[in-house]
Symmetry: C3
Subunit: 470 residues, 3 copies
């Protein structure tokens, strides 16, 4: 007989009764706050077209590399899971997931999934081999109904605003449709974009020169001259801002920055747009462009996000056969102190500029990032990110950042996901963990409860709105 | 008056009553499971010859570098402790240990020792200056009895299987004696070996060229030609497997791997077997051989263990006067992401291969190892190792690994010790800590208790058997 | 209406009732122990001249870079805060602090300040915009009274001994005045110096050559010859020791050490005292001099402290306009294993030598420092330092250091501060956290309560006295 699926109202709160009682009180006041999602990877076409999602596997298994990488790590083939394999029977792929659901014990994917199953779909029995078909059928049926179309879910989830992420070569046509729907009163959902220029900033990006060609076409500038290239950025940034963007995003392999003279930059630009690009030039160009982008942010007001430190596509065979974003990006040790100095030397003292730093290297929390953000006016700290978007990851973030940077140099929560249905679950985890963390401070008499209550609302809602100008 | 020696039945459980109650229930079901010890350094001659151990100092002080390094760090001379000093009176050395037993407060050595004193020898008063002679005499007397001979202790400790570690130059004669005793019904204890080829793989190992000579003799191959050298490995691996080995072990200074062409490898082999070996060539050869060994493991099914990151013999004076393994090996920062890529590029997607990674650099847990093991089918994570084989070390391991790698990419506990009497204590610490960790997840409603109960048995017993093919 | 300001008697104790009860009992016995402050940055002229402190902003805001860096990080100008700006109205600067006091929630500055407000000044309402003037006036008035003069506060705080830090070019005239006051019976307070030779050891220190000139004058040696330079050190060390010093202190950018031959050292000395100094030579000279200083410590008995790993003056603009020590020093990743080997190879086995290591890189705690200090007789571990002098920082220190190094390779607490009024608060935090940590060990049956009680006194008082020979 299948076991009942129950989400405890006390989940993720400390079990110490004194702390738990405080956490409950704090959480009660923030649980229902709207969701502000200032950084993520949902697909704007969902909200533009509002077409129904497909079957259970298409929605919940195929796009979620957190999930299929774990199954793959235990020897289950990606083909069998239906990853880039249209021949796979989605019901069979779903069964593999169900049979191996125990692998996710102790992981955030398990918590997010259970929330989706219980709260979004109303299941009352646990997901397992035994209930695999029941789940597959009920989810697939639900997805065909209007209540599970993207806009209906957006509204039901209480999302106040969500940011997607697009490259400079994107025409933002889906955002245009959404804005038209907003203007006509057809739908009130606020979906904005963010400017992620890696494809035209990273000389090692696939098709860099082709990208510059298209960058020229779209911007009406000659993106093969340095001056034209900068003008193209300015133009596309302005266009993105018109379409609602309040931020840019930069996903470099390291946090390296540089601040070259115009002459040096022009010479470098010529080299990296040439036929052969050295790794050192590519790195230097990315580094220089971070500083350039910070300068443009100071001009146009877009908040700058830096997401460094992932070794992308670590598994060559997998990359060749299945492409990007298949769970084979691995964090590396990341220096910030030396790396950011050129940029900070130029713009770090600008209180009107906001640069939000993320890291995958937790050793930098207390050692580098908290001291940097606790000093430079331009810097703020992004939340625990990616592999660290988890209960223990968030606790390490708070316990290692707060004493030096305080809470007010942080910017609330980012869900950073393309798994749309998990968004409420992810924000709920963050709110519960923050309330639990604050409860610990109150229970140890390091803070008063009224202060913790203020902070709970700030961390759940206010700081994200303020930092991202939403 | 000496104080009573009491081992609390609740030791190492969380003190929060909700968590403690769950931990007690989980532990009750796994406390009595047999010990599976898949990696360690006990001496097979003990079980072959079954001779009585000597006196208290010989058994518990002289071989335990965890213990005498701490005494040495506080200014007590190794000579006085009887380390490589036959002239020292063992009773006097033992007294020094007793007088300074407070130095071990808060360390795992203290817990293991107290278990040995209370459970193995039945002491009811604490070890101290006052009880030093009582301890010395009672232990030394007990060791002369049949009940304290190696095989009797092995049986009494509930050891199902134990692996020792031998080099390729070892004839495994003690293992042969044990296997004969098994076959004749004289003794049922299962003692297997593991293949640790560092002495013939590391060109910087003492006597490398002499080792190769002996490697040739034992294998009947010409280990001074690259082809013969590889054949010699294959031969010795097969012999070790015949003698029960299910694994190999590799203790390199770094995790560097390389994947050279045959021509490159042959040229490198010629250089490292020549008169002068550069540090870079030595490192490259070790790196290449890890990949070669992985390939052989894929062929012969031996599980591959990699134990990198110790700076061996950091204290030159000590090494000169007292030799290896005297407490002066110090961990260093260790990169895995770049280092393992050549090997993983070659064999990482092989689900039939098992490579168990260890680290002394805890910063790699959440940043590198959990993402790698949570993706590559060939990788599993060894337990908290050496300095981290401790309550807090194990908690850090679980809290930093689990959310990304899950529990099922880990392999249970290794005691990794030559301190035979402490083996049950070490496994008991691991079981208690794991039960406490799981109890925390249950108490925070992140897992159900039936799942935790399954996991407690897996972490205590099943995973080690499965991962090491025991 | 302002909220009441209350310091809970249970603050910083674990909230688990079992642990809290033990912590209370442990703390009760150590709360009143005298303060031993073996390393800090108070100004000896305070205790020599005993002049009243100025107004609230001058005492509590302007010198405390922990405080104004946080305000600066949120866009408040240093000018407005009165930092290097005599034109600022101190009452207005104080109001900025008051209005933004919420920024310090969760930071140690908040706890220290609240202690100063409640315990030193007797406030019963919280500091806030509303109470800013009340605070300013009452503090400023109090400071004009005899009870708030430096010597009176020293006595009231129960300080047994405090060490200040001076460079070799300091004439120690204030210490001479204090010692005369001691001798005459005018005041019994024990204020000693410590020898911090960075200005004459670091070739990159501002005015290095001028410093050497003055070093020659003060010592009567020719500090521009290597032999004279060493003799000058010996002379100044002896003078410092006469004035009470029991220790030296070395604040290098890295932990690099070297052990050059006399000929090599002389050649290097010539280069670094020449017109142009390369970065590599500067680093090598600092490295060599650490080993030289260790040798002198072995001769004269001064305890050696090494405080490496801060990137000083990271913010160029700020340094240019506001100078050193303005909150822009940022920790960097710091290697100890390779860096210290030359020094330890020479002196590490000397049990008569004490070298106290500090770090700003917590990743070295369990990986490098605990194994090093748990082996080498000459090494001890300084407490959690600077950014890590905080409840969570101290907990990480204990939980990551203790299992390998034990408690007895640590040296108690350092307040390391120039914020004189916060000294009792800082020691109190350390005692509370240590008692809480010990209570956790007792509650988990990893230690008995009588042992924890001994350790609580050792960590609060005895270890500092012993390690620093006070």
């Amino acid at each position: 007989m299948p076991r009942p699926l129950l989400l405890s109202p006390d989940r993720l709160f400390p079990s110490d009764p004194a702390q738990r009682d405080i956490a409950r009180r704090l959480y009660r006041e923030v649980a229902g706050l709207p969701i502000v999602s200032p950084h993520g990877h949902t697909d704007p076409s969902w909200f533009a077209g509002n077409a129904p999602f497909g079957n259970a596997a298409e929605l919940l298994l195929h796009p979620d590399h957190y999930v299929f990488r774990m199954l793959y790590s235990q020897g289950i083939s990606l083909d069998a899971l239906g990853i880039r394999n249209a021949a796979a029977d989605p019901r069979e792929s779903w069964r593999l997931f169900a049979q191996n659901y125990h692998l996710f014990r102790g992981t955030p994917s398990r918590m997010w999934m259970d929330w989706v199953f219980a709260e979004a779909f109303g299941f009352e029995v646990q997901f397992s081999a035994e209930t695999s078909d029941l789940y597959y059928d009920r989810i697939t049926e639900a997805l065909a109904t209007d209540a599970f179309r993207p806009r209906a879910l957006f509204d039901r989830f209480g999302i106040e605003v969500i940011a997607t992420t697009e490259g400079p070569l994107d025409t933002l046509e889906h955002h245009a449709v959404i804005r038209a729907a907003n203007a006509s009163g057809e739908w009130a959902g606020r979906v904005i974009t963010a400017y992620r220029p890696d494809p035209v900033i990273d000389p090692e990006f696939e098709g860099f020169r082709d990208n510059l060609k298209r960058f020229s076409d779209l911007s009406g500038e000659d993106a093969f001259s340095y001056a034209g290239y900068l003008a193209a950025h300015r133009g596309r940034r302005a266009f993105f801002a018109e379409m609602g963007a309040t931020s840019t995003d930069h996903g470099h392999p390291t946090a390296a920055t540089a601040d070259l003279s115009v002459a040096e930059a022009e010479a470098l630009f010529d080299r990296v747009t040439g036929a052969e690009v050295s790794a050192a030039d590519a790195e230097l160009f990315r580094a220089h462009m971070l500083t350039v982008m910070a300068g443009m942010s100071l001009d146009d007001g877009l908040v700058m996000q830096i997401h460094p430190g992932a070794f992308r596509n670590h598994n060559r065979w997998l990359f060749t056969h299945y492409g990007r974003d298949k769970g084979a990006d691995i964090p590396t040790a990341t220096d910030y102190v030396h790396a950011l100095r050129p940029l900070l030397g130029r713009y770090g003292n600008e209180a009107a500029l906001t640069i939000i730093l993320f890291t995958l290297d937790e050793t930098s929390y207390a050692r580098e990032l908290a001291p940097l953000a606790g000093h430079y006016p331009a810097l703020k700290l992004g939340p625990a990110w990616w592999f660290h978007d988890s209960p223990e990851g968030m606790r390490r973030f708070r316990s290692q950042m707060t004493e030096t940077a305080g809470f007010y140099n942080t910017v609330g929560f980012n869900d950073d996901t393309r798994a749309f249905l998990s968004i409420p679950a992810r924000h709920d985890v963050a709110r519960r963990i923050d309330c639990g963390f604050l409860a610990g401070l109150v229970a140890e008499h390091r803070m008063e409860e009224w202060e913790a209550a203020e902070l709970a609302a700030d961390l759940s809602y206010n700081l994200a709105k303020a930092a991202y100008k939403l």
